[in-house]
């Protein structure tokens, strides 16, 4: 059993379309999205319509909650004034360009999705199992903390997104945590690729026999130049366009821990 797991889409409907096509080519058995359909990119309705067209079950991210309920900000959890300044531009744009029908759809999304895959308890959430906008970075999340989350939330595999960077860590008893990354913007690595994850569950194994599943991170090339053109046409900040075209984050990165920050250009 193989599942395609998409992280934050951030209005990048071109990347989402490419990822869906890629996952179908791989013949996955199911596609899921971990939330934050809006932000950053252009034409929010196009992403939501793809999710609905392909009936992709989706977790409600903080962005989806905020847009759905027409709140005043994205609840991203940033603490730096410049980060919040840019986050607000995305939010105001996304809110005013999401149809009432799609806002109603966002309100229906669940805060988490639980699956039973060959007897393994799989938990799909947005930030962390306990907090929608908690940032689980690789370099600031101890293994002991992940073990506690797996225990307290009764899960053999936990999948999250929210940070924008993909990583995974094996836990005791074959359990696993993975941050599936995002389709919305590049992984601050100087390339224009975006990422999703494919989790493969073996059919007859038991938890005691080894890892619950294996996770492969899949890079996606898409028409990022077209996205950049559309972002400019919509009057979105040049800082966002630069990230799409260069692969380096320019905003919303004061929240990055030291190790992740060092890997970027800014």
């Amino acid at each position: 059993m193989r599942l395609a797991l998409f992280g934050g889409v951030y209005n990048n409907y071109l990347a989402l379309r490419a990822a869906i096509a890629d996952a179908k080519r791989r013949g996955v058995d199911g596609m899921y999205c971990l939330g934050d359909l809006g932000a950053f990119g252009p034409h929010p309705d196009r992403t939501i319509e793809l999710i609905r067209e392909f009936s992709i079950p989706c977790v409600q991210g903080n962005y989806d909650h905020s847009i759905g309920h027409e709140l005043s900000d994205c609840q991203c959890g940033y603490t730096d004034p410049r980060d919040n300044y840019f986050a607000q531009i995305s939010f105001d744009y996304t809110l005013s360009n999401t149809s009432a029908e799609n806002r109603a759809f966002l309100r229906t999304l669940p805060p988490e999705i639980r699956l039973n895959v060959h007897g393994r308890r799989v938990l799909l959430c947005h930030g962390s199992p306990r907090r929608t906008n908690e940032f689980l970075w690789e370099s600031t999340t101890s293994t002991a903390f992940l073990e506690r989350l797996a225990e307290e939330h009764a899960a053999d595999a936990i999948f999250a997104t929210h940070t924008g960077l993909h990583w995974q860590r094996g836990l005791s008893g074959g359990r696993l945590f993975a941050n599936v990354g995002v389709l919305g913007r590049p992984a601050n690595d100087g390339t224009t690729r975006v990422w999703y994850a494919v989790a493969e569950f073996s059919e007859h194994g038991r938890v005691e026999d080894g890892p619950v599943c294996t996770v492969d991170f899949v890079p996606i090339e898409y028409d990022h130049r077209r996205l950049a053109r559309e972002m400019r046409a919509e009057g979105l900040p040049e800082e966002f366009v630069e990230t799409i075209l260069t692969g380096w984050w320019t905003t919303c990165m004061e929240i990055l821990p030291a190790k992740e920050r060092r890997r970027g250009r800014y």
């Binding site: 300044y85 805060p111 860590r169 030291a258």
Partner: protein, 321 residues
């Protein structure tokens, strides 16, 4: 043993520990090579109200921290780098989790930083340095932190940058909030010019009007307190006491700010202290309530699922820089 929060004559709201996410080590006690005029626990070279922790204290703390599923570890004082075994402590920490050290950057030796950089490289976890510097020039900084401290700290920042670290510069706001943008811009310029630090990470902190700062300016008014009404619908994860405890040589405390108050000590050990709620009866609790997450690195701020969605956040309601 201190007076317990639940026994005291104080009608402030009680806050229990919801999850032990951060474990702090008061590793240098109240001993510091500096004697800052705004220090909330009046640290100095001679203040031994709290003493050094031993390496063994820290190793036991790390063991307990893993048992509790602690996410991150913090080292503070006083000046942590006065402790001769700090490097060993940080290296041990990086084997089990992320570490942050709060320093004045005036006593950093390049060989320690090299050793720590190597340890961080071999670990999946970040080692964060938070450097206290209270102004972008000696004229603002030195009256607070002492003569010559600006230049000495800039040397320390340069050493950190040369060792490959990206320190978070924390500045206590001793100016009007309207000047934040200008001060931050000057900081960026000065750090780039004098310390070669071109991608500076900066964090502005509010003053805590207790300890030396109460004598320098003034203490809190009796009305500056957290009330039960204020906590209704409030996201408690903005308060450090909601998700942290501090290991000191005198027991385990509720937070690193209130160490001079007897009620801050919640137990002899972690097992005892995690069970104890705390009454938010201090003026500093009010500052923490207003500004939120002032002790933590930015990365841990967040809103619990379902709690106070969309409520305005006093910690982030600042204009863009």
């Amino acid at each position: 043993m201190s007076v317990r929060a639940t026994d005291r004559a104080c009608d402030a709201p009680l806050i229990g520990l919801s999850s032990l996410d951060e474990l702090w080590f008061q590793v240098a006690g109240t001993r510091c090579n500096l004697q800052c005029a705004h220090c909330f626990i009046s640290c100095s070279p001679h203040n031994k109200t709290y003493d050094f922790l031993t390496l063994d204290d820290v190793l036991r703390g790390l063991e307990a921290g893993q048992r509790y599923g602690v996410r991150e570890y913090y080292f503070t004082g006083g000046e942590p780098f006065l402790h001769p075994q700090l490097v060993a402590m940080l290296k041990a920490t990086l084997e089990v989790g992320p570490a942050t050290v709060l320093t004045n950057a005036t006593v950093l030796k390049p060989e320690w930083l090299e050793e720590l950089a190597a340890a961080e490289q071999g670990s999946p976890y970040s080692l964060e340095f938070r450097v206290s510097l209270d102004g972008p020039c000696p004229e603002i900084n030195d009256p607070i932190r002492g003569a010559g401290t600006f230049d000495r700290a800039m040397v320390g920042v340069r050493r950190l940058v040369e060792a490959g670290f990206l320190p978070i510069i924390t500045m206590t706001r001793t100016w009007d909030m309207e000047q934040d943008t200008e001060i931050v811009a000057r900081f960026r310029e000065v750090l780039a010019q004098q310390a070669g630090y071109t991608r500076a990470r900066l964090k502005i902190l509010p003053r805590l009007q207790i300890g030396a700062e109460a004598r320098r300016t003034c203490g809190y008014r009796p009305s500056e307190r957290v009330t039960a009404e204020m906590l209704e619908g409030f996201d408690r994860s903005h308060l450090l006491c909601d998700h942290a405890r501090v290991i000191t040589d005198r027991g385990v405390a509720v937070c690193p700010i209130l160490l001079d108050f007897p009620d801050a000590l919640l137990g002899r050990d972690l097992d005892e202290a995690v069970e104890q709620p705390f009454a938010l009866c201090h003026g500093a609790c009010y500052t923490c309530y207003l500004h939120g997450a002032i002790c933590s690195n930015p990365a841990v701020a967040g809103t619990r699922r379902g709690a106070s969605a969309g409520q305005s956040d006093p910690a982030t309601d600042h204009p863009a820089s």
